[in-house]
C-alpha cells in the first residue's frame, strides 16, 4: 500500500519523468522487435510495420499503462480540466457572459443565505458552549408570533424551580437609552442592558479586565450600583484603558462604578447590542417612569429569560419542565392585565412556556424574520433558475456546434460516460468560476443590503460573516446548478450519432430543439414572474410611502429628549420645555418649531377615556378611547396640518388656565354631528378607568384639525390634541421645520446641551428619513431586491430569446436563401422567424402570468401588507415582454432578410 501511495505521489509530481520513462521503455521494445525482424531478413520498412503491429500501437499501449497507474482517475480529471479551461479561454465572450450570469444568481442566493445564517443559524458569539444554552420563552396561547417577556418576580420563580437548568439568567429586551456622564464631560447617550447578576456566569463570559457581576452584587433594589462595559464600548469610549475599573460614571444622574469589561466579541444575546450592563436591581435608574415597580409587579413583563442545560439534560426535558412551571405560575399568581380599558382587549391571557434553542432573534420573531428571508430567497432563487436555464440553452447550442468533435471522440473509442464526464467537467469549471465570483459578489451585496435596512436608532449587533456555512452553501448551490443545467446538454451532446454527425450537413435532431425551446420558455416564464413580483412590491412601497399622510414631512428635523433622565419633574419640566422651544425657534433657519410627545406615527397613545355630553360611546364601553397627542403651540403650523376650524393653542394655554383641546376631523364629526365643534366641551377621565366614576376634567374644544392618514387602509382614529403646558410628559420630541434643505440638528443638539449638559439628545434625524415601521422597511428591501433582480431576469430572458432566434436563423440560412431566391417576400421570411420566436415568448409569458397569479396570492396571504396584482400590472408586463422580445429578435431578423442566394449556396 505504501509503495502504491509513493507511486501516486511520484506520478503526480514527476509526471514528465514518468512519461519519458514509459516512452523510452516502449521505444526500446519497438527497436528490439525491429532488430529481430531485420535479422529475419525483412526490409527496414516491413520490419518496422511488423514490429508496430506486434506491439499493437505505441500510443495505445501507453494509454493502457496510464490507465492502471496510481491516480489514473485523478489524471484524467486533470486532463479534462485542462482541456475545458483551454476551451473556455478560447471562447471568452461565452465564458464571460455565462460566468457573470451565474455569478449574479449564485451571488444573490448566497447573500440572502449569509443574512439568514447571521440572523437565524449562528449561535451567540463570545459565550462558552453555546450549544447548551436555551432561550426560555412564553407566548400567548391564542395570537400570532410575537414576543412576550416575563416579569422579574416570575423570573425569580423560574430560576428557583428549574432543575434541568444550570442557572437561569434574564435581561431586559428593549434597551432604554440613558444619559452617561463622566466626571467633567457633557452627557452622551448610551444603551445599557439590564441583566440579572448571574448573566455572565451562566453564559460563561469572563471579564478581560476587572470582574463581571457575581454573587457579591446584591439583588436588593438599588443596592448594587455597578456596571460592566462591553469590549466594543470600552475600546471606543475609553481607548481600552484598564484604569477604567473603579471609575465612577453617572447613568441618568445615578453614580455607578465600573467593575470590569466583558470578553471581546460578546455583545449580548440578541441583535441589539448594549454598550454596558447594569444589574437588574438597578433597573429603576434606567427606567425612571416605572421605577422599582419593575422588580415587584407581575404585570410588568420586561425580561427575556435563558438558561444553560445541566449536563445530561436534553432541551426537550427542560422545555417540558419549563412548560409545567409556566402552568403552575399562572395558577399560583394569576395576573390581571387591567392596564387596558375594559372592552378594548382581553384582561387575562394564557401563556405557553417552553425552552428553545438559543438564538439572536427571539423565537417569537423568528417566524417573521424567517418568512421574510424566505420571500427574498425565493425571489433570488428564481434568478438563479433563469441564469441556469439561459446557460443550459447556450450549452445545448454549443453541443450542436461540437457534435462533430464528440462524434470524432466517440469514433476513436471514447465511451459515452467519458464524453459526458468531459462535458460535465467543462460545465463544472464554468460554475466554479461563477461560484467564486458569486461569493465575492455576495460580500458586496451583503453590506449593501445591510445598509438598506433602516438606520437603527439602537446599537445593533448584526454580524453576517462569510463563514464556512456560507462558503459551503454557495459551493453546494454551484455544484447542484452545474449538474442540473449541465447534465441534459451533456447527455444530448454525447448521443451524437457518429456516422451522420461526421457528414457535413446533418440535420439537428428535433428533440434537442425542443429542449432548447423549453429552456427559453422557462426563462421567459420566470422572468415574467420576477418582473411582476417586483412590480407588486414596488407598487406597495409606493402605496405605503407616497400616500398623502396629511402632513408635510419634508425639511423637518426631529430630536428627542427624555426629561426624566436629568431628573426633571412635572413642575420643573414644564418650565424647561417652554424655554427649550423658545430657543429652538430662535435658531436661524428654523421657520417653525414645536414640541410633541412623539413624532407623527401609526401608533396610538392612550392617556385616558373621554365622554361627550349627549353622545354615547361604542356599545360595551364606558368611554371613547381617542388617540392622545400632547403637543405645543405651532404643532399644526410646523407639520402643515390644516386647521379646519377654530385656532391653534397659544402661550396662554398653560397650567392653571382653562384646559383646552383640539380634535381631529373624524372626532368632530363623531362627537358633534351637524354642529361646530369649537366651543363644545368633552370630559377626559384619567387614572384607573375601571372604577365606575373616575375623576374627570372638562376640556373646551378650540380647534378642529384635518386627520392624519397614518397608515394606508386604516380608518382615521379619533384624535385628541392637548397642550403640552397643560399635560406634562417626560419624553419630548422637538420638531423643527427649516426654511432650506440644511438640517438644524446640530444647532438643536447644541441648544439642549447648553441648557442642561446632563440631558442627552436621543434621536436627531429628519422626519423624512425616519422609517414608517418594519412593514415599510421589509417592503422596501424586498422591492429593491425584486426590482433589481427583475431587471437582471429581463436582461437574461432577452439574451435567451436573442440566442434562440439567432440560432434559428443560422440553422435555416440555406432554407431562407432558397425561399428568397424563389421569390418569397422578405415580409414572409420575417413573419416565419418572428412567428417562431413569438410562439416561445407567448408560451413563456402565459406560463409566467399564471405563476404570478399564484405567487401574488401567496404574497397577499402573507403579512406583508401586499395586495394581489391587478390586471394593469399583467397588461404592462405582457407589453414589456413583447417589446423586449421584438428587440431581441431584431438583429437576427435583419440578418435573415439580408441572406442572399449566394449565402445559401456558400452554406453548402
Amino acid at each position: 500500500m505504501f509503495a502504491r501511495a509513493r507511486s501516486f505521489v511520484r506520478n503526480l509530481l514527476r509526471r514528465d519523468r514518468v512519461e519519458r520513462d514509459l516512452d523510452d521503455e516502449l521505444r526500446a521494445a519497438l527497436d528490439l522487435l525491429i532488430d529481430e525482424e531485420l535479422r529475419k531478413g525483412q526490409s527496414p520498412t516491413e520490419a518496422r510495420r511488423l514490429a508496430l503491429q506486434h506491439l499493437g500501437g505505441v500510443e495505445s499501449v501507453k494509454e493502457q499503462v496510464r490507465d492502471v497507474r496510481a491516480g489514473a482517475f485523478f489524471d484524467t480529471v486533470l486532463g479534462d480540466i485542462r482541456y475545458a479551461a483551454r476551451l473556455l479561454v478560447r471562447n471568452p465572450i461565452f465564458t464571460l457572459t455565462a460566468a457573470v450570469s451565474l455569478a449574479i444568481g449564485i451571488g444573490a442566493t448566497t447573500t440572502i443565505f449569509t443574512i439568514a445564517n447571521g440572523l437565524l443559524l449562528r449561535s451567540a458569539v463570545g459565550v462558552s458552549d453555546p450549544g447548551r444554552l436555551v432561550d426560555i420563552t412564553r407566548s400567548k396561547e391564542r395570537g400570532g408570533p410575537g414576543i412576550d417577556p416575563v416579569s422579574y418576580p416570575d423570573y425569580l420563580e423560574v430560576r428557583t424551580r428549574a432543575t434541568m437548568l444550570d442557572g437561569v439568567y434574564g435581561y431586559q429586551l428593549e434597551l432604554q437609552p440613558a444619559s452617561l456622564r463622566l466626571e467633567n464631560n457633557g452627557a452622551e447617550r448610551v444603551y445599557p442592558g439590564v441583566v440579572t447578576t448571574n448573566y455572565f456566569e451562566v453564559l460563561g463570559v469572563p471579564a478581560v479586565v476587572g470582574r463581571t457581576f457575581g454573587v457579591g452584587d446584591s439583588q436588593e433594589a438599588g443596592s448594587s450600583p455597578v456596571v460592566v462595559l462591553s469590549h466594543r464600548f470600552w475600546a471606543r469610549r475609553f481607548n481600552s484603558d484598564s484604569g477604567v475599573v473603579g471609575r465612577t460614571l453617572y447613568l441618568n444622574g445615578y453614580p455607578f462604578s465600573v467593575v470590569g469589561v466583558a470578553r471581546e466579541g460578546f455583545l449580548g444575546m440578541t441583535v441589539v447590542a448594549p454598550d454596558l450592563w447594569v444589574p437588574a436591581s438597578m433597573v429603576a435608574a434606567l427606567n425612571p417612569e416605572f421605577g422599582e415597580r419593575l422588580l415587584v409587579a407581575r404585570a410588568a413583563d420586561w425580561m427575556m429569560l435563558g438558561g444553560r442545560l445541566k449536563p445530561g439534560a436534553s432541551r426537550a426535558q427542560a422545555s417540558a419542565e419549563i412548560a409545567a412551571i409556566g402552568v403552575a405560575l399562572a395558577r399560583e399568581f394569576p395576573v390581571k392585565y387591567d392596564f387596558l380599558p375594559p372592552g378594548v382587549g382581553p384582561t387575562d391571557f394564557s401563556f405557553v412556556w417552553s425552552a428553545e434553542p438559543s438564538s439572536p432573534i427571539p423565537s417569537g420573531l423568528r417566524v417573521i424574520v424567517a418568512g421574510f428571508l424566505t420571500l427574498l430567497m425565493s425571489i433570488v432563487a428564481v434568478v438563479l433558475v433563469i441564469a441556469c436555464a439561459n446557460l443550459a440553452g447556450v450549452l445545448l447550442a454549443r453541443g450542436v456546434v461540437r457534435r462533430r468533435e464528440v462524434a470524432v471522440r466517440t469514433a476513436i473509442g471514447a465511451g459515452r460516460g467519458r464524453v459526458v464526464r468531459q462535458l460535465l467537467t467543462e460545465t463544472t469549471l464554468l460554475f466554479a468560476l461563477g461560484g467564486i465570483a458569486g461569493l465575492l459578489l455576495a460580500r458586496v451585496l451583503t453590506s449593501l443590503l445591510v445598509s438598506l435596512l433602516p438606520a437603527f436608532p439602537l446599537p445593533v449587533n448584526v454580524s453576517v460573516p462569510l463563514d464556512w456555512r456560507v462558503v459551503a452553501f454557495s459551493l453546494a448551490i454551484s455544484l447542484v446548478a452545474a449538474l442540473l443545467c449541465g447534465v441534459a446538454p451533456a447527455l444530448h451532446a454525447s448521443k451524437a450519432d457518429v456516422v451522420s454527425s461526421l457528414k457535413d450537413d446533418a440535420p439537428v435532431p428535433t428533440d434537442r430543439l425542443r429542449l432548447r425551446n423549453s429552456f427559453v420558455v422557462a426563462q421567459v416564464a420566470f422572468s415574467v414572474l420576477l418582473v411582476i413580483t417586483a412590480a407588486i412590491l414596488v407598487r406597495d412601497v409606493d402605496r405605503v410611502t407616497s400616500v398623502d399622510r396629511g402632513f408635510d414631512s419634508r425639511q423637518v428635523d426631529v430630536a428627542s429628549v427624555n426629561l426624566s433622565m436629568a431628573g426633571y419633574t412635572a413642575a420643573t419640566g414644564s418650565t424647561f420645555t417652554r424655554q427649550l422651544i423658545e430657543r429652538v425657534r430662535a435658531i436661524p433657519g428654523v421657520e417653525a418649531a414645536t414640541l410633541s410627545d412623539r413624532q407623527p406615527d401609526p401608533g396610538s397613545m392612550m392617556m385616558g377615556g373621554l365622554t361627550v355630553p349627549g353622545v354615547s360611546p361604542p356599545p360595551g364601553q364606558q368611554y371613547f378611547y381617542p388617540n392622545w397627542n400632547v403637543v405645543d403651540s405651532q404643532y399644526f403650523a410646523t407639520l402643515r396640518i390644516p386647521l379646519l376650524n377654530g385656532h391653534d393653542f397659544t402661550d396662554a394655554d398653560r397650567a392653571g388656565a382653562q384646559p383646552v383641546a383640539i380634535i381631529g376631523e373624524s372626532a368632530a364629526k363623531r362627537f358633534f354631528p351637524g354642529k361646530s365643534a369649537v366651543g363644545q366641551v368633552v370630559n377626559v377621565h384619567t387614572g384607573s378607568l375601571n372604577v365606575p366614576s373616575a375623576p374627570s376634567t372638562a376640556l373646551v374644544i378650540v380647534g378642529v384639525a384635518r386627520d392624519l392618514q397614518v397608515a394606508p387602509n386604516l380608518a382615521p382614529r379619533l384624535n385628541l390634541y392637548v397642550p403640552m403646558q397643560q399635560k406634562y410628559v417626560p419624553g419630548v420630541t422637538i420638531l423643527a421645520r427649516t426654511s432650506g434643505p440644511a438640517s438644524a440638528a446640530d444647532d438643536i443638539r447644541a441648544v439642549v446641551t447648553s441648557m442642561n449638559p446632563n440631558l442627552p439628545v436621543l434621536i436627531a434625524q429628519t422626519l423624512d428619513s425616519l422609517g414608517r415601521g418594519p412593514v415599510e422597511a421589509q417592503l422596501r428591501v424586498a422591492a429593491t431586491v425584486a426590482g433589481s433582480v427583475g431587471l437582471i431576469g429581463l436582461l437574461l430572458a432577452a439574451i435567451g430569446i436573442y440566442g434562440v432566434t439567432a440560432y434559428t436563423v443560422a440553422r435555416r440560412t440555406r432554407e431562407i436563401g432558397i425561399r428568397l431566391s424563389l421569390g418569397a417576400g422578405r415580409r414572409a421570411v420575417v413573419g416565419m422567424i418572428l412567428r417562431q420566436g413569438m410562439t416561445l415568448v407567448g408560451t413563456g409569458l402565459a406560463l409566467g402570468l399564471v405563476l404570478s397569479v399564484g405567487v401574488g396570492r401567496v404574497l397577499a396571504a402573507q403579512r406583508f401588507g401586499i395586495t394581489a396584482p391587478g390586471a394593469a400590472t399583467f397588461a404592462a408586463a405582457t407589453l414589456l415582454f413583447i417589446v423586449v422580445a421584438l428587440i431581441a429578435c431584431y438583429a437576427p431578423l435583419r440578418r435573415a432578410t439580408r441572406i442572399g442566394a449566394m449565402d445559401a449556396l456558400r452554406c453548402e
Binding site: A3, E25, A29, V61, Q64
Partner: protein, 109 residues
Amino acid sequence: MSQARASLLQGTLDLLILKALSAGELHGLGVSRRIEQITGGTFVVQPGSLFPALHRLEESGWLTSIWEASENNRRAKYYTLTKAGKRQLGEATEQWNRVAVAMTKALEA
C-alpha cells in the same frame, strides 16, 4: 465483464509475470517470451496487457526496474522481483494451488 472473472484473469497474469521473473531479471518483451516458453505456448501475452501489468506490479512494490544494456547493446528496462514480490509469488502460488485442486475436485465430482 464480471468482477470475479476480471480479477481471476488479472491474478493469473500477475502470477505468471512473477513466476517468469523468479529466475532472474528480464526486460518487458523478455517477460512475455518467458511466459510463452514456460506455458508451452498456451499463454501469449500481448504488449497491451503486458506493459500495464508490469507497471501495476512495480507500483505495488513487487517489481523494481533498472535501465541496462540489452543483448544486442541497446538500452532496455529490466525488471526484477523485490523481496515483497518473492513473498507475493509464494502466497499467490499457494493460493493458486488451492484453487486448482478445488476446481479439479469440483469438476470431477
